[in-house]
Assembly symmetry: C2
Homo-oligomer: 172 residues x 2
């Protein structure tokens, strides 16, 4: 049985097979439908690069995630403001869980040595904490319905949020 | 048995009872924990206004949602850019579903006559479509892990996104 030592994380190409593979994942939504439409309308070329990375076992896509490098211009999470990765739609197909594939994916993201922001659901928070993530201080006007979790390589700090400023003012 | 005709939507006040009530809702997360911390640290006063609205039956909070008015300065969804509402964490406790409380909450949000943006999970998309919402055209750099759904009062149009521009360029 293949485990994390036997597989590699690779960048996924947009084509009909990938988009068909995506339908097996629970978080399939507007993003994938938009990619499919763009492919059908020749707006993107077959086999063009996607923001998705995944793990194949043989011909089967068993895990995937989306990664986007956000410019420091828009950074509201880290200090000093810097380029960071947004990680979303990390998912391992149910029958392939508990083999280290999720860990392998996150380690791949961490290997860029940039801070990472994600928005895990309740069930996957513990996993992200094991991977060294922590909840970001919640800021309404930045986070709305999110529960942002962040990971920082050495030397990076969390941006000082409004709530911390408030706390300081208050404790004077 | 109380139904939607017998209840009203009201703005929730931040206090220990509200924050205890919130724990019954599945989407409890960083936002609620941050409010609790702020209350404990006297950063917000007891009974101060929250971004949450809800329905009480007697003393029981049976439904809630969060609403935030986003400034037109940040509007990337509507044409022309305008103030709009972000709706999130709409949830009715399981034993109170199928009585029109969800509909009552969304109608309350719509009564402001501003466009609305939400990010429903897979299970609630059909409900939002019934309420007149539609999927926004997906734009990676705006939407990331979201599946944004929007509702527009008369006279408001969706902002022309990049994908539509691409489609036009392509069909020339």
């Amino acid at each position: 049985m293949a485990d994390a030592a036997d597989v590699k994380v690779e960048r996924l190409l947009i084509n009909y097979k990938t988009l068909e593979d995506f339908k097996k994942f629970q978080a399939y939504g507007n993003q994938e439908e938009s990619m499919l439409r763009d492919l059908e309308n020749n707006i993107v070329e077959n086999d063009s690069e996607s923001p998705f990375y995944g793990i194949y076992i043989g011909n089967t896509l068993v895990a995937r995630m989306s990664l986007y490098k956000q410019s420091k211009k828009y950074d509201r999470y880290f200090e000093p403001p810097q380029d960071y990765l947004i990680l979303w739609k990390l998912e391992v197909l149910p029958q392939y869980r508990k083999r280290g594939f999720g860990r392998k994916m996150v380690e791949f993201a961490q290997s860029f040595n940039l801070p990472i922001k994600t928005n895990p659901n309740m069930e996957s928070r513990e996993f992200f904490e094991k991977m060294g993530f922590k909840p970001a201080s919640y800021e309404l006007e930045r986070d709305f319905g999110e529960n942002p979790y962040i990971w920082m390589p050495e030397g990076v700090k969390e941006a000082e949020g409004k709530s911390e400023e408030k706390a300081k003012t208050n404790s004077k």
